[in-house]
């Protein structure tokens, strides 16, 4: 009788552990999936930038420095894509530089009227919105996953099976500084 009772308890514990473990695995996979989602939109932006630089160069020769910075930031993004913090820093800087470019383009009416440029601007604007949304989704998933990893009693399971906290897609000033140094090295 006691043995049967013990077996039932053990079985319940195993089931509970399995449920918690699977929950952690699902959360971790959701984080990876969200990261892959950001990656898709970052790559789409990377593909649009060369075309943008070519189009703008033809009309706005005086903005050479700005265009070169965009190109170097693009390369920095490609190089940093395994590192979340560096990618976030490069993304922030590229976003800011593109906004500066679109502000400067206001001084070039011929370029503003160019159909190709307008189409690229629209595409890039949509892509930036999707990147921002994808970042929010990724960070929400990371928050939920990290909460599961750190909360009791899942923290016992996460400790035993080696689940670690994921990084948020946010950059600090020092990471942005490192990116700036790396793109200056490219010039």
């Amino acid at each position: 009788m006691f043995l049967e009772f013990l077996l039932v308890i053990i079985l319940i514990i195993i089931i509970v552990i399995a449920i918690m473990y699977n929950g952690l695995v699902r959360s971790r996979n959701a984080v990876k999936n969200a990261w892959a989602g950001i990656d898709v939109w970052l790559k789409r932006r990377e593909d649009l930038i060369p075309n943008l630089v070519r189009t703008v160069k033809g009309y706005a020769k005086h903005e050479k420095q700005l265009l070169e910075e965009i190109t170097r930031l693009r390369i920095a993004m490609i190089n940093s894509q395994k590192d979340i913090k560096r990618t976030a820093a490069a993304d922030d800087m590229l976003n800011k530089t593109l906004k500066s470019l679109f502000a400067v383009v206001e001084n070039y009416p011929m370029l503003r009227a160019n159909e190709n440029f307008l189409e690229l601007q629209k595409e890039l604007s949509n892509t930036e919105n999707e990147i921002a949304a994808a970042r929010r989704i990724y960070n929400n998933n990371v928050r939920d996953y990290n909460t599961s990893v750190d909360s009791f009693p899942q923290n016992i399971i996460s400790g035993i099976f080696g689940f670690e906290n994921a990084e948020f897609f946010n950059a600090t000033a020092s990471e942005r500084k490192q990116i700036k140094i790396s793109i200056d090295d490219l010039s």
Partner: protein
Amino acid sequence: MYWALYGDQEETEVFKEMAKVEEDWKKITSEKEVQRRRKMMRIFSLCFVVGLVFGVISTMLFSSVLPINQSDWNLAPAIIFFVIMAIGLVGRSFTRSYYYSKSKDVLKLMLAKENNWLYSSEKNVPQQQTLEKELPELFGKGNTSNKYIEDQFFGEIQIGKNKIPFNLGNFYYEVRSGHGKNQSTKSYYKNFFAFRPNNKLNAHFLVSPERLLHKIGNMLTKKDVDLESMEFNKKFVFSYKDEKNKALIPRIFTPTLQLNFLELEKKRNNFQSLITNGAIVFMFDGFLLSFLKTNILKENKISEADTAQLKNKIDELVVIIKEITKSFD
């Protein structure tokens, strides 16, 4: 012709209806009618108060609470006074309800005219039958024959350079349950919002709130589609017929659209969305407009808060249309 969900709406009859609503409103808000209404409400209020007071006194006299010989009184006066009270109460309620309903119609009419849309308050059974046949996922509800569409708007919304036609309205149906003496009928109101995107879609799938049964079903069949947002995956479930539609879902539901759906879910709770060839339809619980602040019995105009409420509800949906149309471009 204005676009309607499965069939265009001819405007002549609707213009006549709109003109009638406007005419009714002019009569209701005329000085003569206002005076008549106030007089009527005073009479009903008086009936209520007199009936209540004298009814209570008569009852107390009958039950010899007061020190008077009981045999001198019977219950008839009390009954008469309570009937007078009831007339006052019913009269007031009916009058309030009548003007409330008129106010709702006029509010919608004003919004329609402001935006160059059509508004029809009429019950439309044939349209409901067509929709039930074409879109059973959303309109195939209820198990009695008492179902209809009413209170519809038809118009266009400007999104960038494009004009997107839309149709919104209320859907009423009943569900009968039990047998014999235990039979009961429950009424349901839903409001739907449909629009036709510029690019024709070759898709047909439904997005619904995820319930426990869906979770259990998905554990067995693994049919649900998981997108990037964990919160979205927990709150919504996709239903589709084939692999082609399954493959379209991640393409259409971009991160921005997922966040917009989550925002809409916080504001509107349970809703379903059907993405289909030729239209995208949202179905929400309840009426489009609820609890008007407008009280025509106190103030002879539509409350600005009500106008804002209706505009906000439509604007929330316009934001979603913008995102969906971007996904399809």
